[in-house]
């Protein structure tokens, strides 16, 4: 594996925003998650829970409700009173429409998907018809006219019933006429909607029960409480030979530390999210056909994209936050030590720059050039480019104004290795190449998307010699462009699972592609085919433990002196694949610890295989090679995130 000096960076003060809503789409097996800053993320549950799309947040848009309608159309509504529809292809907001009822607190689509119903602050319920390309206001239900829709009516009616100052946080209306309500008194109550009487009451928590979601079959539902507990209720027959059924609280799950603001019920799993920023997917064992790794619990905390970029030359790290960027210079040391030693810093890390965005929009992506003198970021409406000048320890920032009009918004920004070119993937599916000059720029070329597709490209990779540019969208294959001749060179055959990371190796110009199902391919760009090694890997298959990892590979890099090495990492491990060594099979130990030095070479050689894995650094947000012997690892310990969250509801623990 080789010895490295590692910069262990823990000053990336990133806190993911809390989860506000989740909405599960049964048709596409996708999950939409909205966060408190307005970000909406789309997870593909079929593709190993990969976060394949995201819509940046907006300060004034706090999402209170999220729903899928008419197949795969995604709507959200929030406290600014607007209903939004998202364009899942172009990763853009299609339109927004004011409901004119004040802040919107709830929204639901009719089971047929033809109508949308929103509940507004002024107490009105508004019905919208969903037309193929827009939504249209249809009618308004007042509080008094209780005939048509029961959902909100029931909500209001029982407000005062259970307890003084009791708030009903959620209701569910079942097809048999049962209404289930969850409230701030910690109760789950079953009501008969015909007579308006309480049928059964379950006291499940000392704090609020905040969310409820019912399965499509209406035989089970899930509720989330402010204590972080998720309870599963099931409709169970009273005796084996009778048709009488009763709702029974079955299992509690304590995967959250804070409020569970939202829950969803997919046919095979319970999904919950809340203030503690984790998205938890808990498969239901009785619904799982084969007890394989898919039946394991998933906890997703970090975004599946890069928030850190690095300037190797100047040893700078650029951290991307929702509304600002931070530029840090790494510390340095003169001390040396043996393996495993912690070296004292002779010079501490420097916080060079704190760049706040203008406007309410969140940053989508950011990048710093390898030479460290260019910095670019993009929001949903503008792309910003800055020139950095270093004078000894001082740094000055100069904004390059007059960006071209077509550069409205970028999904990915990349600098070439020599920092002379800027590649921008716009949300229209086009790729722009811009030449950077001292203090100015020049638009070189735009690769237009293939005719008919508007799919946005979200991953870019450029070869170190600057000749090749690889770009990948969500579903179609990876396109490789020849930058010298400004034309499409080839397209890597499409694969079933989305690409999570891309990189082009120096010298050989091999494109290494990681997919969300943990497969790694190596594709030779000049030869327009998969390399021999990649074919071998596919023939033999990856180790089962490799395929069972939770998090996708988010970054790939190469060692300048060792062409057979591929460096890649996910959130919980860092791996160097040595292509010269034999591949591991299922019988060999994948995560072998560093071989003990006193062991004979024979043993070492026998157990050595291509995958050298280190799990020392986790959760790992970024890892890259600064030079031949230096690595930088950006960690974000979960405890640090929890420390920045509001304190959870204090629960008395027995024995303390």
């Amino acid at each position: 594996m080789g010895e490295f000096k590692v910069h262990r960076v823990r000053f990336f003060n990133y806190v993911p925003p809390g989860i506000r809503c989740v909405a599960y789409n049964n048709q596409s097996n996708r999950l939409a998650v909205s966060r408190t800053d307005g970000t909406v993320e789309i997870y593909n549950l079929s593709a190993n829970y990969f976060q394949e799309k995201f819509f940046p947040g907006h300060e004034s848009r706090s999402t209170e409700a999220l729903c899928w309608a008419e197949g795969q159309r995604l709507f959200s509504a929030g406290l600014n009173g607007e209903i939004l529809e998202y364009d899942l292809q172009a990763l853009d907001i299609k339109y927004s429409m004011d409901a004119f009822g004040g802040p919107i607190w709830s929204m639901i689509a009719s089971p047929s998907g033809s109508h949308l119903l929103v509940g507004c602050e002024d107490g009105s319920v508004k019905l919208f018809q969903i037309t193929p390309d827009k939504i249209q206001f249809e009618r308004n239900f007042d509080r008094q006219k209780s005939s048509a829709i029961q959902k909100m009516i029931v909500d209001r009616q029982y407000m005062g019933v259970s307890k003084r100052k009791c708030i009903v946080w959620g209701v569910a209306f079942l097809s048999d006429g049962t209404v289930i309500s969850v409230d701030s008194a910690g109760k789950v109550q079953f009501w008969d909607s015909a007579s308006g009487t309480l049928v059964k009451s379950h006291l499940i928590a000392n704090a609020d029960v905040q969310s409820i979601a019912v399965a499509d079959q209406e035989d089970s539902f899930v509720v989330g409480t402010a204590e972080g507990t998720v309870f599963h209720f099931q409709l169970v027959s009273v005796t084996s030979n009778s048709t009488e059924k009763q709702w029974v609280r079955t299992k509690p799950f304590q995967h959250h530390t804070h409020d569970v603001r939202t829950v969803a019920h997919s046919p095979t799993a319970l999904i919950s999210g809340g203030t503690d920023t984790h998205l938890v997917i808990r498969p239901l064992m009785e619904k799982v056909e084969v007890k394989n790794y898919d039946a394991a619990l998933r906890k997703i905390t970090f975004p599946h994209r890069r928030l850190v970029s690095c300037s190797k030359k100047r040893q700078l790290l650029l951290f991307q936050f929702a509304h600002h960027l931070e530029l840090w210079r790494l510390g340095s040391t003169v001390a040396t030590g043996k393996n495993g030693d912690i070296l004292p810093l002779s010079k501490n890390a420097d916080h060079l720059l704190h760049l706040k965005t203008k406007g309410p929009e969140n940053i989508i992506c950011s990048s710093i050039s390898p030479c460290g003198s260019w910095l670019a970021y993009s929001t949903a409406s503008r792309v910003f480019l800055y020139r950095l000048n270093y004078e000894h320890d001082n740094i000055s920032l100069q904004r390059i104004s007059k960006m071209p009009a077509f550069l409205r918004s970028a999904l990915q920004i990349l600098f070439s290795e020599d920092s002379t070119k800027l590649f921008v993937a716009s949300n229209q599916g086009s790729l722009h190449i811009i030449r950077l000059l001292e203090g100015s720029f020049k638009h070189l070329h735009t690769f237009q998307p293939q005719s008919g597709t508007v799919e946005a490209m979200c991953l870019l990779a450029v070869s170190p010699d600057g000749n090749w540019l690889a770009a990948s969208g969500n579903s179609a294959g990876v396109h490789v462009y020849n930058v010298k001749h400004l034309k499409l060179h080839c397209t890597v055959p499409a694969y079933n699972f989305p690409v999570t990371a891309l990189a082009i190796a120096p010298n050989t110009n091999n494109l290494v592609i990681a997919h969300s199902d943990q497969q790694v391919f190596e594709y030779s760009i000049p030869e327009k085919q998969y390399t021999e090694w990649s074919r071998n890997v596919q023939k033999q298959g990856f180790h089962h433990l490799w395929l069972q990892r939770d998090t996708p590979i988010t970054h790939i890099s190469f060692h300048p002196k060792r062409p057979t090495h591929i460096l890649l990492h996910d959130a919980y491990m860092f791996c160097i694949i040595d292509k010269s060594l034999p591949l591991p099979n299922d019988k060999t130990v994948l995560y072998n610890p560093l071989p003990p030095t006193n062991e004979s070479d024979v043993f070492r050689r026998r157990t050595a295989h291509a995958f050298k894995i280190s799990k020392i650094y986790k959760p790992l947000l970024f890892m890259d090679l600064l030079d031949e012997r230096t690595l930088v690892a950006v960690e974000r310990p979960l405890d640090d995130i929890i420390a920045q969250l509001p304190p959870p509801i204090k629960k008395k623990k027995f024995g303390t």
């Binding site: 910690g186 379950h202 006291l203 499940i204 099931q234 169970v236 027959s237 009273v238 005796t239 084996s240 029974v248 609280r249 079955t250 299992k251 509690p252 009785e286 027995f654 024995g655």
Partner: protein, 829 residues
């Protein structure tokens, strides 16, 4: 009476009441529990033992009501039989010989003439649940060999098996498995709890199981204190469970209420928890039950619950979680430090009971009379805590004073000692704390004794301690202005060459005090506290000391650790005799000169009874038990026995009880235990319809005897004339209306005649009957004397009754003659 019969060692009561779940009768009037080889029937209202069902020859392991006749009870035993009882009359109806050792018994309503039992066939730990068909033959003893196998590899304890709704399935738990066998489908489903190897779930194993009576729901208790409610278990895939977690230690037992609306659970916390609607937040508690809950059962009528506790106690609990009755046996789950004592007032056996308590246990009725809380601190059941232990206790002044010593030793150097003196309060019939002395000595107290001489005017107590001192405590005026408060103060501190004081003993007349200092015995004058003389045998430390009694009061006995029993003559101040005997227990009989010594060798314990004046023992019984005897005591008899054989004469006035290391209470007896217990049970048998209250014992018995004597019903008004009421002639006279009565002159002679003795009218065969009757009556009234405040001398009262009785018998015939005359006379009129 039965002198031919040899004396043998018998178990006397105190057997476990909490071995299995208690069973209620259908009307909740009685509760049944297994107790050793017997089944005991208790009344739920009065807590009295109504019957003892005897017949099994080994430990009874299960009882169940007969589902097809709720007045019958099945029981099974390790002797391989199932017996069917009529519990109202205490009659054995049938015996079924199964042939295997039976470990548990279950009945199911629909399976009419078959029961389920647990047997183990080959390996010691492999148990099977089998169905036994009980054949219907009229004979008393029937072979029931038709076994059909139901479940294998089950737990021995019946708590781990439960039958579900209408007997459709049976659930059994063991280790980490729950097995459910469906009788209709004839299939077994097995559910395993998440890995037993996983450290987090290491305490996941099952402890007990219960089935919902109406729904398909199984409740299981676990080592980690969780209760799981299993549902949908007829589907291997869709099964699901809910957790209820309140207990912090293992769940000992579970029971559903009759309707299934609530679930009861209990454990080491000594709290009965009622979970309503199987909801975690909806629970009720009955706390402070005194000892951990071992079993829970529910009455079929649904009005009562019952918990069995580790301190050998059964509590009957009302549906609203109020304790309604407590049936307390001998508490045995702690080491006995105080030894065995007899309370002079109640004649009860006194020893350590619950932690920090003294228990008063009635040997006659095999029942705990009451508990005296000595430590007076809430007991917290935690194995890590070092508890305060009650180490010594002694009664003094004919039961008017009780001295107790408690200690707590956190570390060797941190000893907490407390001596308490309790005064008997006549009004409350109990002991009241009078004086509390903290740190009476600087080190462990080794012995404690009162001066029990009749002539001593001030109560005196002596304590001996390892700190080298013995202290004399006397009752003094604890002057406040009313001068009626008394308290104990230290009067004298004695020591002998800094040796540890190991024992002390007063002579019978109280004039001398013997204190042993390791190997040396010192004799002190109790008037002046002068050292009179010392004895030293150089034969090891003195273990026990006692003075001889009555004619042997000039002797002092002592036994040493080296196994030498010495007898000193106090007049000559010389060793009278010594014998080599490794004495464990030495107890003098308070009513005779006899001293009992129990020796211990690896083969077993031997009993020697001797008089101090003679080195030759009166009686020797080898190998009374294989275990080491820890404590012994002589219990005075209420009625002296009359053993004519010289060897058994020592048992005439007192009975010797002893306690072995495994805490079984044994005694010497000629009568079998059954015989001893019959009188009480027969009395209770007589009137089944009447509730047996303590009041009934006082008054009801009188009435009962009278009922037997008279065939006619008595008028309640006549009870005021206790003697004349029994004479039929007078009755007739008073009952007949005045206008039909013959003339007074005619009646006069009749009346006088009725008061005369007429010996010749009695038939010869009647006499023996009457004699036995008489004896019994006198017996009964003797016993009564203890509890009732009968004005008359009982002995004479019984005599008078006898005369009256005989008279009436003779007179009846006279009266019959008279009647004929009388009626004809009326007709003529």
């Amino acid at each position: 009476m039965v002198e031919e019969e040899s004396v043998r060692v018998v178990h006397c009561g105190g057997s476990e009441l909490n071995f299995r779940r208690a069973v209620f009768s259908a009307d909740s009037k009685y509760i049944f529990c297994v107790s050793g080889d017997f089944v005991k029937v208790y009344s739920t209202t009065t807590e009295e033992c109504v019957h003892i069902l005897q017949g099994h020859r080994d430990l009874v392991t299960g009882i169940q009501l007969n589902p097809s006749n709720y007045l019958q009870l099945y029981s099974c035993s390790l002797d391989g039989t199932i017996k069917l009882w009529d519990y109202l009359d205490g009659i054995l109806i049938k015996t079924f010989l199964v042939g295997h050792k039976l470990h548990a018994l279950f009945t199911v309503a629909h399976a009419e003439d078959s029961v389920f039992v647990t047997i183990n066939k080959e390996e010691p730990d492999i148990f099977q649940l089998v169905l036994v068909k009980l054949p219907k033959f009229p004979s008393q003893e029937i072979e029931a060999k038709e076994l059909s196998f139901v479940l294998d590899y089950i737990n021995q304890s019946p708590k781990c098996i439960a039958f579900g709704r209408e007997g459709e399935y049976v659930a059994a738990v063991r280790d980490f498995y729950l097995s459910v066998y469906f009788f209709k489908k004839k299939t077994t489903s097995r559910y395993t709890l998440s890995s037993s190897k996983n450290k987090k779930h290491a305490k996941n194993s099952f402890t007990c199981v219960a089935c919902h009576p109406k729904e398909d729901c199984i409740a299981s208790g676990h080592m980690d204190g969780k209760i799981r409610l299993w549902r949908n278990f007829d589907d291997d895939k869709k099964y699901t469970y809910t957790c209820l977690h309140w207990h912090h230690d293992l769940v000992m037992d579970l029971a559903f209420s009759v309707t299934g609306a609530s679930l009861l659970s209990g454990g080491r916390e000594c709290v009965l928890v009622e979970w309503r609607d199987a909801a975690e937040k909806n629970k009720e508690f009955l706390p402070r039950l005194g000892a951990s809950v071992e079993h829970i059962s529910v009455s079929p009528a649904g009005d009562l619950f019952c918990t069995s506790h580790s301190d050998n106690k059964i509590m009957v609990i009302h549906r609203n979680l109020d304790t309604s009755a407590v049936i307390q046996g001998l508490v045995k789950d702690r080491s006995i430090l105080t030894g065995l004592m007899i309370d002079p007032k109640t004649k009860a056996l006194v020893l350590n009971g619950k932690p920090g308590h003294l228990q008063f246990y009635s040997l006659q009725s095999d029942k705990q009379l009451y508990n005296l809380d000595i430590v007076q601190q809430e007991y917290i059941n935690d194995s890590d805590l070092i508890q305060i232990e009650l180490t010594k206790a002694a009664f003094g002044c004919f039961g008017n004073w009780l001295a107790t010593v408690e200690q707590r030793e956190e570390k060797e150097t941190e000893l907490e000692l407390q001596m308490k003196l309790w005064k008997y309060n006549k009004k409350t019939q109990g002991f009241v704390l009078n004086t509390k002395i903290s740190m009476p000595h600087d080190d462990h107290i080794t012995a404690l004794c009162f001066c029990n001489a009749e002539r001593s005017e001030t109560p005196t107590l002596v304590t001996a301690s390892k700190d080298g001192h013995f202290k004399v405590w006397i009752l003094t005026d604890d002057s406040d202005i009313y001068k009626n408060a008394v308290g104990w103060t230290c009067d004298f501190v004695g020591s002998y060459h800094k040796y540890q004081a190991t024992g002390c003993c007063f002579s019978e007349d109280g004039s001398l005090l013997a204190v042993s200092f390791e190997e040396i015995v010192t004799i002190w004058d109790s008037e002046t506290w002068e050292l009179k003389c010392t004895f030293c045998q150089r034969a090891g430390k003195i273990r026990h000391l006692c003075f001889g009694r009555l004619t042997c009061s000039k002797y002092l006995l002592g036994d040493t650790e080296n196994g030498i029993l010495c007898c000193w003559n106090l007049l000559s101040c010389a060793l009278e005799w010594s014998a080599k005997l490794n004495v464990r227990v030495m107890e003098p009989d308070p009513h005779s000169e006899n001293v009992a010594a129990v020796s211990w060798s690896s083969g077993g314990s031997d009993l020697f009874v001797f008089k101090p004046s003679e080195p030759r023992p009166l009686y020797i019984q080898k190998n009374i038990t294989r275990e080491e005897v820890q404590w012994g005591v002589f219990v005075p008899r209420d009625v002296p026995d009359s053993f004519t054989s010289e060897a058994y004469q020592w048992l005439n006035r007192s009975q010797f009880y002893f306690l072995t290391k495994s805490q079984s209470l044994l005694t010497f007896s000629t009568k079998s235990a059954e015989e001893k217990l019959t009188p009480t049970s027969k009395q209770l048998l007589a009137e089944e319809s009447l509730p047996t209250t303590p009041f009934y014992f006082i008054l009801g018995k009188h009435r009962q005897q009278e009922d037997k004597k008279l065939n006619e019903a008595l008028e309640s008004e006549l009870v005021q004339l206790p003697l004349t009421e029994n004479i039929p002639a007078i009755n007739e006279l008073l009952h007949t209306p005045a206008h039909v009565l013959p003339s007074a002159s005619f009646l006069c002679s009749l009346f006088v005649n009725s008061l005369l003795l007429s010996e010749e009218t009695r038939s010869a065969e009647e006499i023996p009957d009457d004699v036995s009757m008489e004896e019994k009556e006198s017996d009964d009234s003797d016993e009564e004397n203890n509890v009732t405040e009968h004005v008359q001398d009982t002995q004479s009262a019984a005599l008078e009754e006898d005369i009256v009785y005989q008279l009436s018998k003779s007179e009846e015939k006279e009266l019959r003659k008279f009647r004929k005359v009388d009626y004809s006379w009326i007709a003529a009129l």
